[in-house]
């Protein structure tokens, strides 16, 4: 089986090579400015080769998005696991998200791009596949809530809905960050963000 295995390994390496090129260009020039030909050139392969591994630009970018979501997930997971208390876990999750939107802006942008697009971009099956990765992140928060409720630290709220709301708020905030000069009126965005997180947490722990 050595031959087949080696083939398989080589194929995976190629995929990685393509993904690396795509990612680096994406991060350098942005989504719209990154073309398949550029990716091929960067990866030092023919365009056709990309299409051998990925059916479309869509599919290639979907993988990048999944990558980003996985990174966000693992960062969040790690941060939460390091916190003993439930409130700390939530605060950490929010902090990670905030940092991620700044420090992993490229991944954040690609996630955001597909979430913001007015039209359906992915094929349904591709979309579902990507969404699973997004779901993991939400579920992480949900679990914290569930455990927190179980332990008595949190009020009994609908953990699924609450976690989506929590995440929607964080996500919405990062968009509004653009308007900071106009709407913040002297406040800093960081303060606003913390205020919101505090608010959510105090609601959960009220009484």
């Amino acid at each position: 089986m050595s031959l087949k295995e080696r083939r398989e390994r080589e194929k995976n390496e190629r995929r990685k090579q393509i993904l690396d090129a795509a990612r680096s260009l994406l991060f350098e020039k942005g989504l719209n400015a990154t073309s398949m030909n550029q990716i091929a050139k960067q990866a030092e392969i023919g365009v056709g080769t990309i299409y051998f591994y990925y059916k479309s630009k869509e599919e290639l970018f979907a993988e990048l998005q999944a990558e980003g979501l996985e990174l966000l997930y693992s960062k969040t997971k790690k941060a939460c696991d390091n916190e003993p208390e439930f409130t700390g876990k939530l605060r950490s999750a929010a902090r990670v998200f905030f940092k991620f939107s700044k420090e992993n802006k490229d991944y954040y942008d690609i996630i955001n791009y597909f979430l913001s697009a007015p039209e359906q971009i992915f094929t349904p099956s591709l979309k579902d596949q990507v969404d699973q990765h997004g779901d993991k992140v939400i579920s992480l928060v949900e679990n914290i809530l569930v455990e927190g409720i179980k332990s008595g630290a949190f009020k009994k709220i609908d953990s699924r809905r609450y976690s989506i709301m929590f995440w929607s708020t964080l996500y919405g905030l990062t968009h509004f960050k653009k308007l900071k000069n106009t709407i913040l009126k002297g406040d800093t965005f960081k303060n606003l963000f913390d205020y919101c997180v505090d608010n959510f947490i105090s609601n959960l722990t009220a009484e």
Copy 2:
């Protein structure tokens, strides 16, 4: 001054004419599929003329975005004014936003487009100008909170921050609507949305 005035009026009419064409195409074919040449043809003028009145496509679309924000503002204002109670006002504002994102999807999309874009698209001065319109909507909510607090209906919270948070959540939720098949797990989006609004309101009125 008669001449100058007439000139001015004619200029405004031309701008309106162009805007009408752009809007109608935008609504018909979507953001990406609307080109400057098409707009010119629809407006029955030359392409060059558009560039006399608008420096770029973005500037033209910025005006459309402002239009959309004004529409959202007026709808929200009207709905709030019709409600006697402060909680009703907030609920109405949220409901209007939700409806707007569905029924005025084209305006919503163009607002969203610029808010979601990773790069700075507008020139600073243009951006500020557009942002003023966005600020009006936020301030509407802020005022309700201020008045509500004054009247004793609401807890004493930071009305500016709270209104931004409120709006961020609504905005984030409309993005997450896309994931409804994956993350909602049987729930409807409408229920989720209402749940969130209720949550915000009960926090404001607690005790």
Copy 3:
């Protein structure tokens, strides 16, 4: 010889397997939309394997063309054999051709493709091989004429030339069918076709 024979048999089976795949794709998606990779996938073999059995795409399609010509031949032969009279034989031959161009459109198209191509597509030897199949069909008509003349049913004409002319007309007519809306001016194509066949036959039997 047993080994060699088996090898030969296996080779033929492989060729048939490839041909089956090519034919089914050709009929499903048309000539231009059928690629070698698709054929390979359909045949459940590697692309390279096809090139072991066929030097080029053209060679593969040439075999399909030959197939089509053989089918046309056998249909024509059968129809002619069933007719006792010479005029009936000719009429049948024409009718078969007409039906073939409609009901076996895929075969007809591929025959036509190579006949219409402005450039020499096949290598001389390949071309000759294909042409033999075409010749069989012409010769069928020629034989009817020869026999018809011998029997006194037909005038003494140059049977070779006349049969080519006959076939050229039928073939040309099927091309002109495309123009039926424009040039037919109310007439039906079927009527035109019958008119032409009648004309040829009455010329043969005149006096």
Copy 4:
């Protein structure tokens, strides 16, 4: 009106310039090998400019086809007009067609290409427009027949059908020319062609 007129003239010149480039490339490299980019380069203009004058490659090629048909028409017309007798006119028409297929092979190929294509290539309106040009050629023959019948030189046949049949035969023959090595068996194509024409004419004049 001088300005508008000049503009119009310049536009026509541009169209001609594009057409010239397309024709010359087409004649040099064949239909499939001629790309829009090549045409643009040859015409020393940008690709976009071509698309300003022609909506698609199709439309550009349709004009070329129309050109070819017009050339065939005018050649045929001229040759017929020079012949005093009706039989001479027909013979001339056939001779012109035969010469045209050889000496204006490029035009012939492009006409043939669209007539032979298995799928509808042109949009209906474009097709109709092109077909009109083809109809002119047929009608030329038809008129000769009509006049010939009127004068008593020809038998009373259905002039429309007969002219289509006549033309179909000539057209079919030029396709079969490719098979000359195989099916002609010693005869020359020229002889075959003349034989056919003679046959049609003697049918018309019989008795």
